[in-house]
Subunit: 202 residues, 2 copies
Amino acid sequence: MKRGKVIVISGPSGVGKGTVCRELMKRYPDLAATTVSVTTRAPRPGEVEGVHYYYRTNEEFDKLLAEGKFLETVDKFTHRYGTLLSEVERVLSQGKNVILEIEMIGGANVKKAIPDAVLIYLLPPSLETLLERLNGRGSETEEQIKLRNSQVEKEFDQAEPYEYFVVNDDLSVAVENVKKIIDAESLKDDFRNVKKNYFGRN
Amino acid sequence: MKRGKVIVISGPSGVGKGTVCRELMKRYPDLAATTVSVTTRAPRPGEVEGVHYYYRTNEEFDKLLAEGKFLETVDKFTHRYGTLLSEVERVLSQGKNVILEIEMIGGANVKKAIPDAVLIYLLPPSLETLLERLNGRGSETEEQIKLRNSQVEKEFDQAEPYEYFVVNDDLSVAVENVKKIIDAESLKDDFRNVKKNYFGRN
């Protein structure tokens, strides 16, 4: 069976990563499988270990982190969340894709751990659009805006490992472009695999 | 302006390269621009130098070949045809794609000359299908069939630089898959270019 792929979707804050990912999964529910994450928060009523999350203590989380077991981690408020490399490998080996909506710095780490991961960077229609969204409507001083803008520019230097750039102007167009990338990537193969499949030997 | 890409479509004889390319251009006439080839044959009535072909003598053709001016050449009957690297570069720099339907060995040369060329290999639904098509219906001896089959397998070792593999079972599916690859490839970019476009400097 052909392995699935890790699809990383990143982009500056305010570009609409979450909206694009949700719409993509709504239109194409079979495009990717979900992985079970590790969390340090307590299970809520009805939540099941290994189904909703793997529930771990802070100390256990630290241990997994130190052992390099995580593909990526994120802190939200007082809780921590992490995607296990083993969990992702399990899904990929079943021939299914995994979609990760993560920060740029995380994308670079994913690419190091899984070299055939597909890194997609979502872009705003223009820098002005993005800055307008980020800077709000006159609530910041000129100094604050300048600082913010230079941070956006600096952050962008981490985009090096990203290969695909999709402009999120029209949501539907952006979603279909991401879909095309995933479909095209699934047509990639190594000629040795193809030969093996056709001729039954290397 | 973003450069176009060279799209190479190859595959074993009998797989339907020509049919896929023709159907692709019929459905998506704007997908790629055509290049003017060099030929050693004489112009036919109504044909115009630089529009239909560049008409050159055998000696002139040899000189261009020796100077490394060709991206690929092919001999058909007593005439020779060649695609000029300069001609392809002209079209790419206009932001247009170039589709080349060529043999595998040519694909490797194209990839060397133009590293971001996209190499697509068309596959038959199965080895059996291909061999049936090639071996005809009982007109060859078992020895001839064996030789042919080992040639097909040997030829396949040249598929190394090919990245995408599209099965041509249903023509329409194959054409749409090639289209998806070309669309996805057009979404590829280098983050330096993207940054330059957004921030106006490197």
